[in-house]
Amino acid sequence: MNTNTTDTVKQTLFVDGRELPINGERNVLEMARKAGIDIPTFCYHSELSVYGACRLCLVEIEGRGIQASCSVAPEPGMRLRTNTKKVRDIRKISIELLLANHDMTCPTCSRSATCRLRELAERMGIDKVRYKPIERKAPLDHSSLALVRDPNKCVLCGDCVRACHELQGVGAIDFAFRGADSAVLPAFNQDLAEVECVNCGLCASVCPTGALTPRPEMEEVWADLDNPNKIVVAQMAPAVRVGLGEYFGMEPGSITTGQAVAALKAIGFDKVYDTSFAADMTVLEEGEEFLDRFKNQGVLPLFTSCCPAWVKYAEQYHHELLPHLSSCKSPQQMFGAVARKVLPKVMDMKGKELVVVSVMPCTAKKYEAKQEKFIHDGVPEVNHVITTAELGLMLRQCGLQLADLEPAAFDKHISFKTGAGVLFGVTGGVTEAVLRYAVEQVQGKPLEDVDFREVRGEKGLREATVTVDGIELRLAIVNGLAQAAAVIESIKNGTCAYHLVEVMACPGGCVAGAGQPHTFNPAARQMRTRAIYDNDKMLDYQKSQDNPELIKCYADHFDGVGGHTAHETLHTEYTHRKRLHEIDIALQEGESKGTLPIQVCVGTNCFLNGSQDLLKKLMHHVDQQGLTDQVSITATFCMENCGKSPNVRVGATHLEACTFEAACRSLEEQLGSKAL
């Protein structure tokens, strides 16, 4: 194994005859890539564990034969060759084998232009597949609000499985079956919407083909744009302005705010606004909430709530921590709510219906916008969510080139933003924005240096302490949900020292969201991040509290930050989602109205303690007593009272450690009282 010695002697190895220094690379694949040799891979990602399944990265190592370069640690003096005939032949056969087992409907695949398989087939010069094509006809999974799963395009590289498990700590999909029948599936082949997928879309980001793709909403947007009875407005998230350019071949991190606004106008949006305005609003609301909790010994640490994937994660796995979540809506939903409140007052709606469309770097935002709690009297705060890449495609459909467009300005009233609002696009950005507000509030005088470099960076879990007037603010910044585990554990065991914890699901934050244009450039994320920080500098104001349009908005439409109106419009509540579904099994249904429900828990613990027998006896009893008409019996999923199993509910009465006799007694009592 490779150990990094601190010897001053430079250690080297040879790649295709070139001597290269060993600088702590994990494997020889990384070394070759550093040397500019793009060894092909499907299953290698520097942020994921080494998997060794695609066999494309094979190289010939002197004395060791053909090896997968991802699995070989660099050793001094090693000599490897990356393009021998043998290596080329095996790579070609691997690609040919994959193509034989691929649903080659390429022209109609949304990943056609960014498909790794297609690219490698071309690179390897494959002009014919000599194997018999394998017909794949698995149904597509359209259940998710955020993603589409097409099993027929899966090459089983496992990138999605590892990303979901290793980076997000979710594991919503995994391998099932063996050998040629292998497939990547949600548990028990349920629909993606039925399992604990948090909609982050990381799986789609790492997918080399079109097996997992963001769910498109373009057609719905086109339909509304074409509808003369609708006024369609767009909001554009901070990260979009540093991502969209890549779709048109620009360098990652090109800032294209003005062109993007012009583009949206060009394809028919009536008004275009900046989500960063709502982000500034979030800073004030969340900042106030934080200071209130901080000063009044409220529930701390406070978790940010901008990332819908994180919110669903918390709702699913840690419902006891929900009081820690900021009650603030995410900037997307705040914008939607504010737009619906403000726009009809400040513009002439001509009796038309207002449609709010978000352009987001994110797939989870698609899911968020469709939550019941964000739909009021049938009107959603945000109607449609398209991704950065979808916007790019819409422009291309119209034959527009982003670079050719004359930059345009956002529309007024709810668009003006500060640098703090733009920072929401990167990991640590929400924390920095809130600090720019909270520190000024705590110290009671204007903040001079607005840069909090201690919260910036790339690490999955970062800690920082900011001292203001002798008061310590202890912060944690998480990107990648798996990294939240340590913080959550510390809260549960009472050792948590943080006051504020920012969580974003995507490593790197929203700039690297699954809605951004697909890229194989590992440096793209850093370049987009840099652009966000540059954009912060370029703006007139850096602190949300200085945003003049925001101040006016509060004055005209709200009763102050954190006030009653603000609470009604800008805050929300969370749902306990530990149970994805409550499917009770109806075993016997009474016919008369107002039957008495009997629920018997058949969860594992109750089952082991005899609930199944109890259920049978009860059904028999009801039948014998001729009560079938008056009661309905259901078997339920775990009642979460396993310590006192078996659990039975008769009407509203919960019977713990229930016996047959106790259940009968309760049944008689309740039926008796009903009869009276």
Partner: protein
């Protein structure tokens, strides 16, 4: 632990004495083979019949030498009815051995029991009809020492399997059992143990043949307090049952081997990974572990040495790939059984990320023998680079099938013609049918042909001809075997058992199977052969784990030795062995046809025409190549002809 309890336990010497004292009172011992084969053949019913019959005669019968009470007297025991592990000659089971007479009765049924008791125990004679009869000479063999199947073997690891009662710890100890473990724990250093194993030249019996002593020493020198020993009992090759027999028949040898290994590398915990399809092995191992723990040979402070070792059984779900060590480890950890790239090797980072020693059942069962009798004696058998003996599961077209053990270096000729009793026809009779090939090493192995009959079987010489010892399956094939069909059989197995992780194995085995299907269906061309060979090479070199790397071996070795047969399939559209229906064009030889009309009546598609007593004719357009006419002709007038 309470030391007074410790001193209450008998030591190895006492246990041995107790067994001696009890067995010396036994007048007759009837050993009933209770291996899976014999049990399936009704061995337990035979045993019950013996109990009934002997009790009815008023004889003192014991089925357990160590039962409480009555046996502690000095009273003689007329008959001790004991079970043994697999004796290897499964084809002839259920097997019943009478001691001290040394009579072996074969294919015994409960109905035979009264006669055996009457003739052999009462009248002191032999039931001749139940003796093994030499298939060619018809000569009767009274005991194992006169049966060629046993005579030509060198049973070391399997020796105790067929003799001892696997449920009797004291009998194992009386045979010298656990002395090696005691010595390893109390008398010699960890490095010395590794050294003795290294000296013996023992190589892994699971297929790879890596020097066991080196593996042990590599694991021993890894830093860390927490290490594991794993016994790989996931024997998955179709037809192989060597490991199962050892676990069933001599579970204490496996446990003792593991205790020694644990001491050598410094592990406190171990797992025996057994497939769930081996319920008897699991039960016998569990019982043996309980006995060993109670005796103080396993668990806390073994033999008062201060060394503790705990052992668990992990039941596998039967995936072939879990025999691959990294997949096996993943399976124990509760993960999907898929291999991981190596390095890191298990010795560096194995179970739960800790240094782990993983050895095959047969390897571990060999360990006590080495420490008991010394490395020199181990080396006395076998060849210079492959010392010792190897068990094989012998099957296919040979007269005697079953479990055998021979020294490395034995030739195929010895195994096929002496132990196996010669090549048989498809009906199982030894005729003059020529030997065609053996498939050695199961789906990972390759074939050996007539030119290899005198090749010494060992790790290196097998490797040099494109085959491998593998886990030890030996399938003998006569000339009526189509090698393409054989390759297809193993390829289908590999395709089904591939874990699906790496592209080359998952897709490659699937496509190789499709290509073989094409050839068998008569749709192959020379290009098919070319693609097949290229794919096989790529899968062999490029796959992630041993399963994939060896899966193409049956294809590659049949291509190497039987290319003409492949070419006949794709060029002449003819299966020389007459096996592939699509390539078996029946042709009537005019001179031999008597015009009896039988074939005409049997033909399901009315493809045969001809007047009575006249030469018949087959309409090749109508013929579906089902082969019924070939089977029906009583004059051998219909033969496989090449396609037109």
């Amino acid at each position: 632990m309470n030391t007074s309890v410790m001193t209450d336990r008998p030591g190895l010497k006492e246990a041995s004495d107790i067994f001696q004292q009890r067995i010396s009172r036994v007048e007759h011992r009837i050993v009933i083979c209770a291996g899976t084969g014999c049990v399936a053949g009704g061995a337990l019913a035979v045993r019950d019949a013996f109990v009934r019959e002997l009790t009815a005669l008023g004889l003192e019968v014991a089925t357990n030498l160590h039962a409480d009470g009555a046996l502690d007297s000095d009273k003689p025991i007329s008959v001790y009815l004991s079970k043994s592990g697999c004796q290897g000659f499964c084809q002839m089971g259920p097997l019943v051995t009478l001691e001290p007479e040394g009579i072996l009765y074969t294919r015994v049924t409960p109905e035979d029991v009264p006669e055996i008791v009457d003739v052999s125990l009462v009248k002191k004679s032999v039931v001749e009809r139940l003796l093994y009869r030499h298939p060619q000479t018809g000569e009767q063999c009274k005991g194992k020492d006169t049966i060629p199947f046993y005579q030509r073997q060198e049973r070391r690891v399997l020796k105790e399997c067929g003799m001892l009662d696997p449920g009797d710890l004291y009998e194992y100890i009386n045979h010298g059992g656990y002395e090696a473990a005691r010595r390893a724990l109390c008398d010699i250093s960890d490095a010395d143990i590794c050294n003795e194993i290294l000296q013996s030249g023992l190589r892994g019996r699971g297929g790879g043949g890596f020097p066991t002593g080196r593996k042990w020493d590599l694991t021993r020198i890894q830093p860390g307090d927490q290490k594991y020993v794993i016994c790989n009992g996931d024997e998955g090759d179709p037809g192989a049952f060597m490991d199962r027999s050892v676990m069933e028949g001599n579970p204490h040898a496996v446990i003792e081997g593991m205790v020694i290994a644990a001491k050598a590398i410094g592990a406190q915990e171990g797992y025996i990974y057994v497939r769930m399809e081996y319920p008897l092995a699991i039960r016998r191992l569990q019982e043996a572990m309980d006995q060993a723990r109670e005796f103080g040979a396993l668990g806390e402070n073994i033999f008062n040495s201060g060394f503790s070792f705990e052992l668990h059984i992990m039941e596998g779900a039967g995936a072939f790939v879990c025999g691959e060590e990294t997949a096996l480890i993943a399976s124990i950890e509760g993960k999907r059984g898929m291999p991981m790239p190596k390095p890191p090797f298990p010795a560096q980072s194995g179970l739960w990320g800790k240094p782990t020693l993983i050895n095959n059942v047969e390897t571990l069962a060999s360990v006590p023998l080495i420490l008991r009798y010394g490395p020199e004696q181990f080396r006395a058998q076998g060849t210079e680079k492959s010392p010792g003996t190897k068990t094989f599961a012998l099957t296919g077209h040979v007269a005697n099938t079953g479990l055998i053990e021979v020294p490395f270096g034995a030739t195929l000729r010895e195994i096929v013609y002496e132990i196996g009793g010669g090549v048989t026809d498809n009906a199982g009779n030894v005729t003059d049918r020529p030997f065609k090939a053996v498939q050695i090493g199961g789906p990972s192995g390759g074939c050996l042909v007539a030119e290899h009959l005198d090749l010494p079987l060992d790790f290196d010489s097998l490797g040099s001809v494109g085959a491998m010892v593998g886990s030890g399956g030996l399938v003998v094939m006569n000339d009526q075997t189509c090698m393409i069909s054989v390759a297809r059989f193993f390829m289908q197995f590999a395709r089904n058992e591939s874990c699906g992780k790496c592209v080359l194995c998952r897709e490659g085995t699937r496509q190789m199977l499709a290509l073989l299907d094409d050839i068998i269906a008569g749709e192959g061309t020379l290009e098919t052969l070319e693609i097949l060979e290229q794919t096989a090479e790529a899968v062999k070199i490029g796959s992630l784990c041993g399963l994939g790397k060896t899966a193409p071996n049956p294809v590659l070795s049949t291509l190497r030795y039987f290319r003409k047969e492949y070419e006949a399939h794709v060029i002449d559209k003819h299966c020389p062995a007459g096996v592939c229906p699509a390539l078996c064009t029946p042709v009537i030889i005019d001179e031999l046809c008597t015009g009896c009309g039988l074939c005409k009546r049997k033909c399901p598609v009315e493809a045969i025409s001809g007047e009575r007593k006249e030469v018949h004719h087959i309409d090749q357009e109508k013929c579906i190549k089902c082969g019924v006419c070939l089977e029906s002709c009583r004059f051998d007038a219909i033969v496989q002809g090449a396609a037109q």
